[in-house]
Amino acid sequence: MTAVPSNPNAVPTPGAPNVNVNFSTRVDKVSRGARWTRNVRAVIIIIIALIMLIPTVWMAMTAFKSRPDAVAVPPKVFFEPSLEGFVSLLTNRRQLTATEIAEYQARTDLAWADQIALVRGQTIIGPSDFPRQLLNSLIIAGVSTIFSVGFGVLAAYAFSRFPVPGKDDLLFFILSQRMLPPVVVTIPIFLMYRQVGLYDTHFGMILLYTAFNLSFSVWLLKGFIDEIPREYEEAAMVDGYTRLQAFRKIVLPQATTGIAATTVFTLIFSWNEYAFALMLTSDVARTAPPSIPLVLGTGGIEWAAIAAGSLAFLIPVVIVTFLLRKHLLRGVTFGAIRKG
């Protein structure tokens, strides 16, 4: 529509006119038909985007529903917001007897969370496992990300700048483990971990996620470092920098964006990971993903609580998606495709 001269990344076709030819003639001549199609397109896209948002929004809405509203037939679109789901998610509660309920209702010193629990005739007896699991997720994802990006940037630099023997095979091998179903990898690791006492430990999970994400970070970072001209370091080395100094003072600052994007992607991968956590943790190091489907209340599935847990878990990812939108393409293709 707008007369962008050919994309600079376009592959030149033999016999084609020079890439820099300016097709400016089309700028002001957007016909009425074309404008109309564009508007129709925009409307269709908006409708599709809204439809695609429904499941996520519905989950977010359910998180703020009361227990009866969450399972109302027909489903309630308009409802009175309640924090019941969050209270059920974060606390363990005990059912009160009739006399106790009367006694509690007479009290005026109840905190808001207690009041919400009281609506269902319950009292809070302590925090649930969920905050701890969320913290586990955070620790395991955070620490493993630091290691996999740290090791990854070193390996990526070496692979990018030096002829490592068997480089292509190594890089392919590094990538290939990412393509295996997690269960395939987990069986021997489970046995290994049980032998050395790493089953259900934070360190075991950190080690596994580091190894697992390293493949991704090496590939992605290599792409970013490949783009930094070698001449920068070489010039610095002519000026008397050692190779290490050049790496630290020239390459690393240049690769900041790439490192940041890789870090966030790695964080999301470990944060979202389910299969390894399900099979290699049970209690101490259990992360949030395998726990969310199991948030069960007294008598039946507490959908509001599950939705609250999902929401708490997804919000960071949604925010990050917006921050990362320029790098999404690269991230989801292991750096294979760089630019749109």
Partner: protein, 315 residues
């Protein structure tokens, strides 16, 4: 390692003189070794060793929960799996699932990309909104889709027009529908991925191709078939291969939505493998054999992927 090669590279590409006897300075060879070492060590400990270990286990009758030492049984595990109709059933389920979901994602993703191709005010934000599902945790997605699919209080049936809960389909409970339910969720989650790659392909098509076609009065369909499609093909291919591998190893969504049920109609190979290895009898030996069969299939698929990737890189 590579002493000679690194040396040659160094003298040919750098102009920096090598400082004579430079005290604490590390040679480039050392740096390469040091930089790659942590990655290689981790890979050996966490990948190569476990794979060799499980290759050994696949020839034994070992079980995690038994105290007996592994006994060598030769290829018995492999012959048992390959002659087991359940295995072929699960492979067929996985194949059907992969075909359906990747096929639909390709169509939906490519259509979305065609729609979003020309920018308009707000199209950037809309693109990001459409991309959100693929960043979410599959297991959490599965859990809230379970609520959405619920036959009485889920909204899915209401949205597609079944407002009577007595006649509304039970998506996760009916054998003919359960696989489709998983396909629907997977398409919702991953069509944006195909869209993203197609958008990249579309934006790289040089405008002059269309200019030339317009001068030749080529029809829209002709332009689509002869310019758009061939130009997007390499990236579309990559998207399809990525999705094929991912769909083939699908575990999270199935676990979250159906646990392989009802019966075994949605039991994919990954779910079967999980059950064999970590539930019931804990048949570690047999599950290792199955894992190796899956491994071979995945390596075959990913080799195609690497071939396609290289072809795209070259062009």
């Amino acid at each position: 390692m590579a002493q000679a090669r690194t040396e040659r590279k160094l003298t040919s590409t750098t102009t920096a003189p090598r400082r004579a006897g430079g005290g604490r300075q590390l040679s480039d060879n050392r740096i390469v070794l040091l930089f790659i070492l942590p990655t290689m060590l981790l890979l050996i400990v966490m990948n190569i060793f476990p794979l060799i270990y499980s290759l050994y286990l696949s020839f034994t009758n070992y079980s995690v929960i038994s105290t007996d030492a592994p006994v060598w049984v030769g290829v018995e595990n492999y012959t048992r799996i390959l002659s087991d109709p359940d295995f072929w059933h699960n492979f067929a389920v996985t194949g059907r699932y992969t075909l359906l979901s990747v096929g639909l994602q390709t169509v939906v993703g490519f259509s979305l990309a065609m729609l979003l191709r020309t920018k308009f005010t707000g199209s950037g934000i809309l693109t990001t909104i459409i991309l959100i599902p693929m960043m979410l945790s599959p297991i959490v997605v599965a859990v809230f889709w379970k609520l959405i699919f619920n036959p009485s209080y889920g909204i899915f049936n209401y949205l597609i027009g079944f407002t009577n809960i007595n006649t509304a389909p039970e998506w996760l409970g009916e054998p003919q529908l359960a696989l489709w339910a998983i396909v629907i969720v997977d398409v919702w989650m991953w069509s944006p991925f195909v869209m993203l790659l197609c958008l990249a392909g579309l934006s790289a098509i040089p405008e002059y191709l269309y200019e030339a076609a317009a001068i030749d009065r080529a029809s829209g369909w002709f332009q689509f078939r002869r310019i758009t499609l061939p130009q997007v093909m390499p990236l579309l291919l990559i998207a399809i291969l990525f999705r094929t591998i991912e769909a083939f190893k699908q575990f999270d969504l199935v676990q979250g939505l159906t646990f392989g049920g009802p019966g075994d109609v949605t039991e994919t190979v990954s779910v079967q493998l999980y059950r064999l290895a970590f539930q019931g009898q804990f048949n570690t030996g047999e599950s290792s054999a199955l894992a190796y069969i899956v491994l071979v299939v995945i390596i075959a698929i990913s080799n195609i992927f690497i071939l396609a990737l290289n072809r795209v890189r070259e062009s």
